[in-house]
Structures are given as structure tokens and as C-alpha cells.
């Protein structure tokens, strides 16, 4: 596995980074289960990109800063991160609440972005289209609802977490609650400003997503003018894990197409 780990202090918060590969920068923003490991899709993307994977403040091995009260804080924080790392023409990719975060960053300032990819993003509400209540699910229900192919769930459940692992799971859940408990997994204002996103945008969704239903895909596509929606069949909430080849192919193809 070709990546390095480092810890940087940015805006008073220690942030753990994984980084690997060469090429244009690709900043991946993880979802509510964090980014403890360098996943196969990161390795594949690292063949063509400089893949940068931070753990958000309040998640995993990163610090929990006093200033973190909500998604807006995290969005401004990542503008600091982009400045601090001196990144330009960034391909921003985020899954679940990381997708929500990516959109919050883009509506604030997209001058350093080359493209945006949101994967099953939380962040908006379509009335009547209910999201799964991840805060009410136990470990088994969570694993089962994350994936379409239950073999992935079985694999996840086969190795119960260590005490340290459990601490990380609970820490991630606490920060997820901070960001998304109420209003549940959305920002009531976000939908009003998504039209400001003008960088080319790819929206990816699994057709069998039990956390943020795929019915949200068309709503996102409608709100972001320059966007394309790709639905992956037989896939749950984590296309980058469950259908990693297809996911990498879609993201890579999209970035190549929009980068002149």
C-alpha cells in the first residue's frame, strides 16, 4: 500500500492525513464511519491522483476541537485545510456526510476546486423521502443496512471491534450526532445555495441505499445546474466499498472528461 500518514495541526486541531499517489489532487471526505484505513478504492485512485484523505475533526485519530458545533464549522475548516496544504484545482470527492460537507465547501468557495463528486450525500431533505435512522440501529442493523450485498455485512460483523475500535466508533457517532442529529442529516439552507456550484459535478448513488435513499439523487441533480447523476445497480450506501471498480471508473472517467 503506497500511502503515508501524517498529523498536521490546522486551526488548532490535530488532523490525521493519509496521502498517496501522484497526479492532480483528489481530496476525499469520509462519511460518518470515518476513514481509519487506506481502502482499495483509494489505492486505485492513487494510480492517477494525489489522493489526500483526512480524518475530520471529531473523528478517528483527529482531535475534537472546541469550535466544532456543526457542518458550517467543518466546511470553513476545510477551506483552511486547502489553503494550508496549498492545494489548487482540487478534485473534491465526498461520501454520505462527507458528500454533504463537500457541497457545503463548494457553496462557500469553489475557486480552488476542479471538480466535485458527491456520493450518496446527506445534506438536503425531500419531504416524505425518509432517511434511515442510523442512531437507532445497533451494530448488526447498521451493517445490514449499509450494504446491498449482505456478504459485506457478514464480513463486517465477523470481527467485532476491540475496545479501542469501539471508542473510535462511539467518537465518530458523537461527532456525527453533533453534525446531523437535528435537523436530521440536512441543513435547511443548503438547497437554497446549491445553484452556486458551477464546477462540474458528479452525483453517485447506489440504487439500494437504505440510509439516504437513491430518490435523493434526482433532487441533487436538479439543484446543481452543471451536474450528472450516476446510479449504480445492486449497491448500498457505500459504492466506493461495495462497487469499488465501478466507482473508480466513474470518478476517474468524469475527472478526465472535465479536466482539459
Amino acid at each position: 500500500m503506497s500511502f503515508t500518514e501524517s498529523t498536521e495541526t490546522i486551526t488548532g486541531c490535530n488532523v490525521r492525513f493519509m496521502r498517496g499517489g501522484k497526479g492532480a489532487p483528489l481530496l476525499f471526505l469520509h462519511g460518518s464511519s470515518g476513514a481509519a484505513r487506506w481502502a482499495p478504492f483509494m489505492e486505485k485512485l492513487a494510480e492517477s491522483y494525489d489522493v489526500i484523505v483526512p480524518e475530520h475533526p471529531g473523528f478517528g485519530a483527529s482531535g475534537s476541537p472546541e469550535w466544532l458545533d456543526g457542518m458550517s464549522d467543518l466546511a470553513f475548516f476545510y477551506l483552511d485545510v486547502i489553503d494550508r496544504l496549498g492545494l489548487d484545482k482540487v478534485n473534491l470527492v465526498g461520501g454520505s456526510i462527507g458528500g454533504w460537507l463537500a457541497a457545503e465547501i463548494a457553496i462557500r468557495n469553489e475557486t480552488k476546486l476542479n471538480s466535485l463528486t458527491v456520493v450518496a450525500p446527506a445534506g438536503i431533505r425531500v419531504k416524505g423521502l425518509r432517511k434511515g435512522d442510523v442512531f437507532m440501529w445497533n451494530a448488526e442493523a447498521t451493517a445490514r443496512n449499509l450494504f446491498h450485498d449482505q456478504a459485506y455485512a457478514e464480513q463486517m460483523l465477523a470481527t467485532p471491534p476491540s475496545k479501542e475500535g469501539l471508542e473510535v466508533i462511539l467518537k465518530n457517532k458523537l461527532t456525527t450526532a453533533k453534525l446531523a442529529w437535528e435537523p436530521r442529516f440536512y441543513n435547511p439552507d443548503l438547497h437554497k445555495w446549491l445553484h452556486r456550484i458551477s464546477v462540474p459535478t458528479l452525483i453517485v448513488w447506489g440504487d439500494d441505499d437504505k440510509i439516504v435513499p437513491a430518490g435523493y439523487g434526482p433532487a441533487w441533480q436538479e439543484l446543481i445546474p452543471n451536474s450528472r447523476l450516476e446510479i449504480i445497480e445492486n449497491c448500498g450506501h457505500l459504492p466506493q466499498i461495495e462497487k469499488s471498480d465501478r466507482f473508480v471508473q466513474l470518478v476517474d472517467g468524469f475527472i478526465r472528461e472535465v479536466t482539459r
Binding site: L166, E167, L170, A177, K178, W181, E182
Partner: protein, 386 residues
């Protein structure tokens, strides 16, 4: 020592086979299980029981706050306190609630408590809690901010009670240009007694025992060893602050059943306490402990403890642990005398109705307790104090 009759007002007519279809009596149990005609009868029966405690010579009666469940039917405890304020003459009325972080405007509590305090001429005891975890699911309030909202709401209420209005309140979660609560509290020197019920938390004890507060810490439904540990912690914290905690600062709340003999007591209480333990209290960990409700460290502890012994609580297990006191008057006297001497609590809150315990057994329990247990313990503790 002072004696209180505590009520939860459970929906005692609950179809106990609900758990074949639903995993909890909280949050998601359909409210179609509640029949308002039975509800009408239960509310009036329970209010009668609380009023009866006044006649039997209890020092206080306690109402409670829980939401969206069959375990306790007092989502707005002030309604009960208001009804009791006029129908009782001597007892203190403890409202244990209110769950401050659930409220978007904590001044409603400052007002509600002040009204009850005025009507009763100062018989109010003001409870302040965070609510149990399930409430954060039912009310949609973010548990990650539970602690900070509790602190801030408390500060706001205290300001409303102790500073001349109008005053300004500048917080993170709450902001007011004009804090100016009418009526002022009747017990205004400096404010009504404040009780902090808790399932056991060192952070809560540190806070309640602080010399600026010296609030009564109330340990709810826990084994005797847990009660002893937390009350010792309170005394140690107080000593650390340079003062000695009085018995008035320590209270214990638990279910109790006393009958003619040990055998009768167990026989009569069994199905009702087991309904309380196995049906009314039933809820998964995700409901009980939402993220942020306790620290990550305590949550890891709770989850590992649960994995260790996920056994069902029975009448025998809770009697063994001292979570439930049950027996003849002699047995109950002996246990309470021993625990009081050992732990040193000054307020004893007994839940003399629990689960499905019917009206006639509740009254019998109250009568035997007030005639054969309370006077004896009053004497013993008065002598000790003298």
C-alpha cells in the same frame, strides 16, 4: 430522615404482549396501545394515591417527567403538580423533571416552578435533570449538546429566580433580552431547594456538590453498592471543596413493597415488579444511550458491562442487589436502617406503585409502610441526629 412517595404513573393497563411485536415500551411503541378511557381512570387513581400520601404523613410526594412511553405518563409534570398543589396541604411537592436540555425555552420551567411554589406557599422542590437517552429520540433534541444545554438552562433559571428582572442572558444555546419572570419564586431565600436526580455520574456529582450549589443529589434505581459508592463520592467531593456534606444533600429513590410477611410481600409484588423491570423499562442500548448522552469512556464501560451480563432482571435479582426492597415490616425496617446508617442519605423516595401494581395493593403498601416503617425510622434517625 424525610420520606417521600414517588410515582411514575405507568400505563398499568398496557398489553404486556407488546414485546412480541415491538422492542421497547419507549419512543416507537405505537400510542394506539394507550386507551384514553383507561388513561382517564389511571390518572385519577394515581392522583388519589399521591393525595393519600399527604394524609398518611409522608413528608413529600414526587412526580416525574418522561416522554412518549408506557413507563410513565407525566410528560408535563407541572400539570400533575398543579392538580396536587390545591388538593394537598402539608407535603412538599417534588417535580423530578424537568428535563432542561429538551426545552427550547427553559424560562417555561422557571415560570412553571414559580407558579407551583406560589400556589403552595413554598412547598415546591425543584428537580433538574437531563432526561433519559430515549427522550432525545422522542423530542429530536441533539444529545451531543445535552450537557451544555443543561448547564446553560440551569444558569438561566437561577438567574431568573435570583436576580431582579429584567436582566439580560447571553448564552450559546439560549439568549434573552428580558429575563423577567413573573411570578417570582415564593421560596426566595435564595430559591426553592434544587434536587438533581441521576442514574449515577461523577460529573453530575462534582457539579451538584460545588459550594456554590450544594444541591441534593438523588440516586435513582440502582444497587445498594452503587448508591453507597456515589454518595461517598459526593461526600468526598464536598470534603475536597472544604465542607462536610449533610444528609440533606443525599437522597435515594427506589421501588419498595411491604406486606404482612416476607412471603406475602414477594408473592404479591412479583408479577408487578417484573412487569416494571422486563416490560416498562425495556429498551435497546441505542435508545438508552444516544451519542453524547454520556462520555465515550462511560459508554464503552456500559457497552462492555452489558456484553458481560445481559441477564434478565427478576424479583430475586433486584432484591439481591438491593435495587428493590421487599418484605415484612421487620425486614424492610432492618434493611433501611442498615443502609441509612451505612450510607447516610437524608431523603428516601419510595416508589410504592410500580409496573402493574393495582390500586388496592398500592394502598395497602402505602398504609403498612407509613404506619410500620416510617415512624420507626423517623425515631431512629432523629435519635442519631440528637
Amino acid at each position: 430522615m424525610k420520606f417521600y412517595f414517588m410515582h411514575l404513573m405507568p400505563y398499568a393497563d398496557l398489553d404486556l404482549s407488546y414485546d412480541e411485536k415491538h422492542d421497547s415500551a419507549w419512543v416507537t411503541l405505537p400510542n394506539t396501545y394507550f386507551d384514553p378511557k383507561r388513561g382517564h381512570q389511571l390518572y385519577n387513581r394515581y392522583l388519589d394515591e399521591l393525595e393519600y400520601a399527604d394524609q398518611l404523613g409522608f413528608d413529600g410526594i414526587c412526580v416525574n417527567e418522561h416522554h412518549s412511553n408506557a413507563y410513565g405518563l407525566m410528560p408535563i409534570p407541572g400539570v400533575m403538580a398543579g392538580a396536587l398543589a390545591r388538593r394537598t396541604k402539608n407535603v412538599k411537592i417534588a417535580i423530578l423533571g424537568r428535563a432542561l436540555p429538551l426545552l427550547n425555552n427553559p424560562l417555561t420551567v422557571a415560570e412553571e416552578f414559580a407558579m407551583v411554589d406560589n400556589i403552595t406557599g413554598g412547598r415546591l422542590i425543584a428537580g433538574m435533570v437531563r432526561g433519559i437517552g430515549a427522550e432525545y429520540h422522542s423530542w429530536g433534541v441533539n444529545p451531543a449538546f445535552s450537557h451544555e444545554r443543561f448547564q446553560e438552562a440551569h444558569d438561566l433559571i437561577l438567574q431568573a429566580w435570583t436576580q431582579a428582572g429584567p436582566s439580560i442572558f447571553e448564552g450559546k444555546h439560549y439568549n434573552f433580552e428580558y429575563v423577567n419572570v413573573w411570578p417570582r419564586v415564593y421560596q426566595d431565600n435564595p430559591h426553592p431547594p434544587i434536587w438533581i436526580p441521576s442514574q449515577g455520574s461523577s460529573e453530575t456529582i462534582e457539579w451538584a456538590a460545588h459550594p456554590d450549589r450544594k444541591y441534593t443529589y438523588l440516586q435513582t434505581f440502582a444497587s445498594v453498592s452503587t448508591v453507597a459508592r456515589y454518595m461517598k463520592m459526593y461526600k468526598d467531593v464536598a470534603a475536597g471543596y472544604g465542607y462536610e456534606a449533610t444528609e440533606d444533600q443525599l437522597g435515594w429513590s427506589l421501588p419498595l413493597y411491604v406486606a404482612e410477611t416476607d412471603e406475602i410481600a414477594r408473592r404479591e409484588a412479583r408479577e408487578h415488579i417484573e412487569a416494571f423491570l422486563q416490560k416498562f423499562l425495556r429498551m435497546p442500548m441505542e435508545m438508552l444511550l444516544p451519542p453524547g448522552y454520556t462520555s465515550v469512556k462511560s459508554m464503552v464501560g456500559a457497552l462492555s458491562a452489558k456484553a458481560g451480563h445481559s441477564m434478565k432482571q427478576t424479583i430475586d435479582s433486584v432484591i439481591e442487589e438491593g435495587k428493590f426492597i421487599c418484605g415484612s415490616p421487620a425486614t424492610v425496617r432492618e434493611k433501611l436502617e442498615e443502609y441509612q446508617a451505612q450510607i447516610g442519605f437524608g431523603h428516601l423516595l419510595t416508589l410504592l406503585q410500580f409496573g402493574t401494581l393495582p390500586a388496592e395493593l398500592t394502598r395497602k403498601n402505602m398504609e403498612i409502610y407509613s404506619k410500620e416503617v416510617m415512624p420507626y425510622l423517623r425515631n431512629v434517625t432523629a435519635k442519631k441526629a440528637a
